[in-house]
Structures are given as C-alpha cells and as structure tokens.
C-alpha cells in the first residue's frame, strides 16, 4: 500500500476542486436550505457530475462506469466536502448502488445501475431503525412470504436522500430474533410501491433524509437482492465502503473549516494584534492541524485497503471513522469558538460546517462505536 496520490488521482482531485469552486460554493447549499428544497440537492449539477464520470467511478464499464476504486472516489468526495456539496454520493453511489452491485442479479443491476451511472436515477439504503443504533445486525423490520413475493412491515429512520430516491434497498428480517446475525435479507423496493410511505425529514445539515413506514408493503419475488437470510455480510461490506467515502468527505469539510479559521486568526484584530498571535489559540490550532493530518493518513489507508481487498480493511475503516468523527467535531467546535460571536450567526458560513460535522459523526457509526468495533476485530 502506497500512501501517496498517483498522478491520475492528483489530476482528478484538481478537476474536482476546480469544479466545486466554480459550481458549488457553500452559498449554493444555503440557497437550497432557504428555499426549503424538497430534493435537497441539485439534479442538474448531479447530471454534470455524472457526465464528468464521478458518479460512475466505482461501477463496471458495462453500466457506463469507470470501474475505479474507493481511492479515486475519495479524492472527489474530499473536494466536494470542502464546499459542503449535498449531492447524493453517499446514498446513491456508496450505499444503494453498492448494495445492488454486490448482491443484485444481472437483471436488477441492468435495470438500475445504468440510470444511476447516467445521473438519472437515485437509490437509498433503508437500514437504520429507532432502536438499532449503528449495529447493522439489529433489524426488527420483518419480511414475510406472501405467495411468490414478500410483505414488508416496519419503520426505517435516517434514510439518506430517501426523499428523492427512485428505489430503496430495504433491510428486513426474514428469520430469527431482532439481533440475530443470520436471517437478514435485502429487498429492492421502488418508490411508490403500495404500503410504503416516505416521510421527508429536516435535519440540522438540511440535506435530504427520510423515514420509511412499511405497512404490509407487498413486493414480488424478484425484489429480493441476493440470498434469503444472507444479507448481513453484504451490508457490512457496503457499510465499510460507504464509511470510507464519508470519511473522505469529512476530511474535506474539516480541512476547509480549519483553513477558514486560520484565515480568521490571521485577520481578526483585537487588543491591536491579530488574535492568531495569542499562544492560547496557536496551540489549539496546531493540535487541530495534527489531528487532521492523522485523519488524512487514516482515510488514505482505509480506501487503499478496500481497493486492495486487504483483510485489514474493516479495521482501517473503523480507524478512519473514529478519528474523523472526533476530529470533525473538535475542529468544528474550535472553528465556531475562534470565530467568536460572528461564528454563532446564521449569516456566517462556519456554522454550516459545525452542523454537517455533527450529522456526519452520527452517520454510519460514531467514534465510540468504531473504537468498540476495532477492539472486537482485534480480539479484545
């Protein structure tokens, strides 16, 4: 594993950074929020990102994808993270799309992935429940046989971009108790299926999220993704891939928040001097710098381990998410504190970084969940 960008990756990073600077200032995200936009992101901009090839990065060429890896996706996500771009990479590409790619039949993949790669269809993963916390195996939503098909019942929360998805990968239990590792199955449920109610939610980062209410929702036998009862390993692999991608986004956001704060420290004058000359702030800034650098190393290692199919990948993903969660919060808290009163205003953009940091922290496992997972994977 080489922890350095290849020339191609550097080029991709630069293209993405230029694109984000030109088309996706933080003000765009503010405008979507202020408009109360139901979609929560820009479909035309998503189409452009698809045309640039970013949406298709981790998908096979036969669906129009670039057949590249997490390492390439990470440099794009980092650049977009800097501008807090709310486009649905996590939901459509990393969660829903990956579940389809890893468990779907050729027919299911063909039906959906070409549209996904083209930037014309959106997917979401409906996994989390009110009492599951971040544990992937705790599934109370049930799927029961109904003739050739299935009938789903239960409630899902925190379905990312659920308010815009054309189809959901729904995690439901086909056997066993609520916290059994076996008996978990995946179903592909198109939006608008009778018995499925999607409720758009409004969270602090103003991105699209939804809760799903499945009330005897009937789907055909062809809705099953993969093998009956064998969904957990797929889910775990998908979650690792998506978590690494989320970490890359967090890395971009925290770096941007930190750099904006450094600018403020250099330019804000109090007591006749720039406040960045005070040692009380310098040391805290230097500590943030150290933590961000360690995050960068962990994220680079995690995505490369995934691309190399290393057996260490799950541990390195947990390392990255634990570090990024802690550091994103620390940096965002310091950013608001060091900006002082102006940092508390809605008018200033730094608060958006605090809000997104909190949501990202509490998505796909927080720091303590990933520390516990590291310990478990290490045999203690």
């Amino acid at each position: 594993m080489q922890l350095v960008l290849t020339e191609d990756q550097e080029l991709l990073a630069k293209t993405a950074a230029d694109f984000a600077a030109e088309h996706s200032p933080v003000a765009r995200m503010r405008a979507l929020r202020d408009a109360g936009d139901e979609t929560g992101f820009s479909k035309p901009l998503w189409k452009e990102m698809a045309e640039l090839g970013w949406v298709g990065v981790p998908f096979p060429e036969r669906f129009g994808g670039a057949e590249m890896g997490a390492s390439e996706l990470a440099v794009v996500l980092e650049a977009l993270g800097r501008s807090l771009a709310p486009e649905p990479f996590l939901s459509t590409v990393l969660l829903g799309g990956q579940a389809l790619l890893r468990a779907g039949s050729e027919a299911q993949q063909k039906e959906w992935l070409e549209g996904v790669v083209a930037g014309e269809k959106w997917l979401a993963l409906a996994q989390q429940e009110r009492s599951s916390r971040f544990d992937l195996h705790r599934v109370a939503t049930r799927a029961e046989r109904d003739g050739d098909g299935w009938r789903l019942a239960g409630e899902k929360i925190a379905v990312l971009d659920g308010g815009a998805a054309d189809a959901f990968v729904v995690v439901a239990r086909t056997a066993g108790a609520d916290d059994d590792r076996d008996g978990i199955s995946l179903f592909l449920v198109p939006a608008g299926t009778p018995g499925l109610r999607v409720e758009r939610q409004w969270r602090v980062d103003s991105r699209n999220a939804a809760s799903l209410h499945l009330d005897g929702c009937a789907v055909g036998g062809d809705a099953l993704l993969g093998e009956v009862g064998q969904g957990l390993p797929v889910l775990e692999a998908v979650a690792d891939f998506a978590t690494a991608g989320l970490c890359a986004e967090m890395l971009g956001s925290m770096t941007e928040a930190f750099e904006r704060t450094l600018d403020y420290l250099k330019n804000r004058i109090q007591f006749g001097v720039p406040i960045g000359s005070f040692q009380g702030l310098k040391h805290r800034a230097a500590e943030c710098f150290i933590e961000i650098e360690l995050c960068r190393s962990a994220v680079m290692a995690a995505v490369r381990a995934l691309d190399e199919d290393s057996e260490e990948a799950p541990k390195l993903v947990s390392l990255a998410k634990a570090r990024c969660s802690d550091t994103a919060i620390r940096v965002a808290n310091e950013a608001v504190q060091m900006h002082g009163g102006i940092g508390m205003t809605d008018e200033h953009e730094i608060g958006f970084f605090l809000k997104r940091a909190r949501v990202a922290e509490l998505t796909l496992g927080d720091a303590s969940w990933h520390r516990a997972r590291w310990a478990r994977l290490s045999g203690y």
Partner: protein, 406 residues
Amino acid sequence: MSDLDAFRSETRRWLEANAPDGIRGLPSSIEGAGNWGGRRVVYDPPELKTWLEVMAEKGWTAPTWPTEYGGGGLSKAEAKVLSQEMAALRLPPALLGFGLEMIGPTLLQFGTEEQKREHLPKIVRGEIRWCQGYSEPDSGSDLASLQTRAVRDGDHFVLNGTKVWTSYGDVSDWMFALVRTNPDVKKQEGITFLLLDMETPGVSVQPIKLISGKSPFTETRFDDVRVPVANVIKGIDKGWTVAKALLGYERAMIADAFGGSRGGKKKSKGADRGSLLVRLARKYGFANGAGIEDGALRAEIAQLEMNERAFHLTTQRSRDAARAGHKPGPESSLFKVYATELNKDRSEMMVRLAGAQGIGWEGPGFDDDELTITRAWLRSRGNSIEGGTSEIQLNIIAKRVLGLPD
C-alpha cells in the same frame, strides 16, 4: 530480478555469513541499550566488537553516508533493505549514538572537507562517542539565550560556563556545543557551534539523578577550556543555523525511537491480539475469556492503539511521498510532539494496567518487567521535554506550518 532484489539476496547472504553468533535478539534503544561505541565502550557480549568491526568495514554502520567518509554509499532504498534484512535475522544495529544520528548528518551538511575527513570515519567505526552541549541551567526552551562564553585567544577559544542535560556526558569522548561568541547582538546572531574533546583540561562532568532513579544525563562544566578555532562548524557567530538543523535530526531520532515508525510495516495476522497493552490487561485480571470486560478501559486501550496506528500511517505517508519525489510535507512537523505524547500515554496506561504491581520501586514482590514499567513511565515524562518541549513543537507548527503571526 531487479537490482534491489539482487541487493537483498546478496545482503542476506553476507549477513548470514558475517554476523557473529550470540548477538541475535539483543536489545538496542535510545535509552542506552546496545553498542554506543567510544573510547570507554564495554562490549557485552564480546561478539558485539566483531559485529561492529565487520559492519564498519563495509560502512554499514552509516549505510547512506558517502564511501569517502567511511559510509556505505547506499541509496535510501538499499539502506531500507539492509535494515529489513537485519530485522529479519534479528540482528541488532552494530552501532548507535548521537554521532550517527545527530552530528554526523550535521557535518555532512555544514562541515568543511577537512572536518568531515577527520570526524566522520571515527563515527562510522565507533571510535568516538559524541554528546550534545545545548541546554544550560538558565536556557531551556529559550535555547538561544545560552550564556556559555567563548572568548577568542589567538587560534583558540576559551570556554567558561555550564551545560545541562548532556545525555551520557560521563561516557562520551567529544561534544558538539553551542557557545556565545558575541553577547552584543541579537541572541541568535552571537552563537557559535563547535566541537570539543571531553578530555580537554577544564571539562568536568557530574551525573544528574532523575525521578526514575537513573542518571542518563550529566551536567558539564567548562573552566577555561581551550578549544581550537578550527573546530568551529560553519563559522563564528553562525552557529544558530547549524543548531536548528541538528535539532531537526534530533527530533527525527526521538520520533523514530518513541513512535516506532518501524512499526508501520505490515503486521502478521492476529498481531494485535497479542498487543502489549492487551496482554497486560489479561495478565493483571482485566480480561477473562474473549475480551476486556471493563468497557471504558477497552475503549481507552483501543484509542491508544488507534492513535499509534494513525501515527505510523502518517510516518509511512511521509516516506511514501518522499519516495515518490515530493518535497517533505507539513506532516513531518508533528512527529516529535505526537510520538512523545503517545509514548507518555502508553507508559501511563501500562502502569495503570499493572496496578499495585506497577508502582514498585525495588526489592521483593516486583519482577523485572514490573520494575521496568514503573521506571519507563517516570522516564517517559521527559520525552515531551527533551529535544524541544511539546509546547515549543506546537509553537513551531503554528509559526512555520500554519503561518500564524508572532
């Protein structure tokens, strides 16, 4: 087969043929274990003498130094292969010390041809052991305020003053020292970097006993010590530049020793299961069966291990970038502060895990491992003080990396 592969198998064969029996698995550390050479060296076991001789003959005690100064003339990649092959055969370094790690690289950077030819070969062969004369009783973090006076008298300087925290001053042969040659200018501009023989009349050395009970440091006094002007490095009053460069080498050495960047290489499967902290937790009753029962403790241990891993990945990232031809990135500025803080956290955790067995000073009821845990913890408190305190490291990051104003 690539050239590097050929070098690897050649090196392996040579090491197997030339390394004496009885040295495999011997410890070596920045804390003084291993062969540090010098006039007063005691070879224990005696095979270490042969080992030093055969390695020095090839220049492999200083593998990357140029051959004209006795070095091995190897590329960085070849030197890495050499160290990997030595590790694979569990061979200790043939020679350690501040000659190789600090003054040698500094001489290569700033020394005259004559100075390099005089001193470097003796370092390579382990004939001269070096110590560092930087800190003074009134000059710690504010190093540039140092007051040891050097007054010109013909082709000599006459030194008067006191140096403290001289590591191994009592067993060293030569010192590289910072002295004040001009008290009337800005403090950084009146400092000279010079080399002196510790046997010169007027040099006296007193050990300093630490809270750990050990005395790895000394206080060194100069009373009218005459040092040839020819021993000045880079020029009179030009010593601060040299001093800072050497501090860079020192920080790299400390970061390497305590952060163990060597640990960055791939561990074998299940290695974490046997990690030292987890083994201690099991030994002292925190674990039964599969895991550590106390969830808060488990999280703390995981946090420490994860911090360590993230640090190793960062040193790897720095090396990988250098190998790919990039300039050193800002990440290298964090190595010293992070590695030493990490070592303190780790040492503290080990004492806590050992519990009542981790606070023994000496005598019955404590085995050697336990006493080592206690003493190592006390010693580790100094890691974030020596070589520039953590606070100074953070100042340097704030100023040089982040560009925050004075």
